[in-house]
Structures are given as C-alpha cells and as structure tokens.
Symmetry: C2
Subunit: 189 residues, 2 copies
C-alpha cells in the first residue's frame, strides 16, 4: 500500500484497493507487473543524442536515415514529441529538453539539456532549429532563452505558429489568443 | 409560459418558473422587461454600412473618424466583433456577414452581406480585407469564397493567424491544431 500511495494521483484508499487486488491475483499476473517495472527501469533510458526515451543508445528517430538531420525540433517532454509525430508532417529530428525553464521552481538551464542542444547545433550540419516549447509563459521564456543562445550562429530559428486553434470560435477565444491571431495574420496569395 | 418557452435554452419547467416570477414581481419591474423588449426591437437595427448592431443608421465604429477606414475586418456575427474589439488592437472598421456559408443548411452567398462587402471594397479606398471568419470548416469555406471574389482586385486579403492557442499545451493539442502550427511556423528575427 505504501508503495502504491507514492504514485501520482493515487491516494491511500486507492492504494489499499490496488494492494488487495494484487493479493487476489494469480502469482503470474502479479509477477508480470513486477517484472514490467524492472524491465522499464533497466531497459528504457534517454537517447544519447536527443534525450527522447529509447531502448538503445540512440533512439529510433535519431537512427532513422530517412529523417532530415538538418532540422532539429526542440520539445519540452517526450509526450510533446509523440503528439507532433502523430501529425505525420515531421520528417525532422528532435531534441528533448526534459523540462522548461522555471526560475521560481529552481529549474535553470543547467537542469535541462540545453548545453547538449547547442553542441549539436555547433557540429555545423544543422540548418534550422524549430522551437516547439509549450505556448505558455514558461515555454515562451525557454524558447526566448534558446533563441538568444543561437543568435550569433547562422542557423535559422523558428517557432511553431500561434493563433486561433483549428475548430475553435472567435467569439469564445480569450484575449491572448485573439491578440496572437491579429498580430500574426497572414496574407493570402 | 408559452412565450418564454420559445426562447433558446428555456424548457417548459424554466418557462413556468419565469412566469410565476413575473406574477410575483411589482407591476413596474414586470413592465420594465416588457418595455426593454419593445425598445430593443424598435431601436436596434443593422448598421447600413457594416451590418453591426446599431441604434443609428451608421454604427459607432463606422462613425468613428479615428478608425482606419482602409482596413475592413470581416466577421460572421456581431459577437465576434465584440471579442476582437476587447483586445484593444483593432483600429480598423468591420463588415458583419450575419452568418457563414453553409450549403447543407441552405445558407448561400445571397443570405449573407457579401455583395455589400464587395461594393464597399470597390469604392477604392480599401487597402486590406482581414478575413476573421471562424477557424472551422464553414468559416474557412466562407473565407475562401470571399478571397476568390477579391482575387482580381488590388486589395490585400489576409486571414487571422492559426496555430497553438496561447496558454495551451502541445501534448494535448489535436492533429489539426498541430498541423496548422507546424505548417505556419514563423522565423524568429
């Protein structure tokens, strides 16, 4: 019960219920969970190049030779990478920061993989860095910080578009969404 | 009760409750509602130029001489105009379509104020038309139709930016939002 209760979102009552469930399971089923936890901790690590989750030193995306290695898309977490990949539009490689700058919580550049990103860019074969940190204050701050580090290189730095969310409505969009949409308006051909 | 039940979102039970409330009100309070309904129907109409709601022939915005009359922002409904105005970023004038093209519901260009928009543009002092229809299928269709009508004029046609909504997150954005964000990514200076 104590071990379950340490997991996020699981209180003492749920922990109790889970523990009783394990007691009722067959030994095989219970051991399967135990082994899965050991396997994930021993076999899944961060890719040495991009810090995505991986079972090998280099993740599947970094090993994929059909990918355009000259465009690096910078995300906060592996979950963001998965969402972007699901669009089917990304033929680039990634760099996972493993967080975002949050000075108030004590998260500084040293706690992220920013140094490693800069080193990757400095190898010279990188043409574009796409900053895909989240569209909120901390994500914007992180993007700004990275773009300032890259400002004296020749690499193109871009940011995912901000504006009205597809499927939304103008009447119920908040002021910051509408400001982004007005300021970023695009000319039709 | 019958009259209340005809209003949107008011069912027979609510209509009953409202009717009993009116019976309990003082005659003055009850008549104030009655008169407000008469006033709004007799005094509020559509602006002759932009079709926004107005108490006079020309609405407040069309009469405002500090506005840049060379930029017309095209919206579906007066509610969209109000949301855009609240950003404080708009010094342009508007054109309210009073709907959007929806062929399946029988809403064709003739049901909207598109003819009047084209006539306004043809007066010659208009430099930009900002299409601010909603970021959904019907809004996009309406914007496409209007931009095709304006394609042989010299006026600049633009569309509000699409992308990640400010304050949102990449992990939980859907595919169309992420596709807009990837395709529309902007280069930082």
């Amino acid at each position: 019960m104590k071990q379950f209760a340490r997991l996020p979102g699981i209180g003492p009552r749920t922990a109790e219920r889970l523990a009783y469930f394990i007691l009722q399971q067959s030994p095989e089923d219970a051991l399967a969970l135990s082994e899965a936890i050991q396997t994930v901790k021993s076999q899944i690590r961060n890719c040495k190049q991009c810090f995505n989750l991986s079972e090998q030193d280099l993740c599947e995306i970094c090993r994929d030779e059909r990918r355009d290695q000259s465009i690096i898309c910078v995300v906060e977490q592996p979950g963001d990478l998965i969402s972007l990949e699901e669009t089917g539009l990304c033929n680039w490689v990634y760099h996972v920061l493993l967080g975002r700058l949050a000075p108030l919580e004590g998260v500084t550049p040293d706690n992220l993989t920013i140094d490693q990103l800069i080193k990757r860019v400095e190898t010279g074969q990188v043409k574009e860095v796409v900053l895909a940190t989240n569209p909120n204050m901390e994500g914007d701050g992180t993007a700004l910080y990275i773009s300032s580090l890259l400002s004296d290189t020749s690499v193109k730095v871009s940011r995912l578009a901000r504006g009205l969310p597809s499927g939304g409505s103008i009447e119920y969009a908040n002021k910051s969404i509408l400001s982004d949409a007005i300021r970023g308006r695009t000319t039709l051909e």
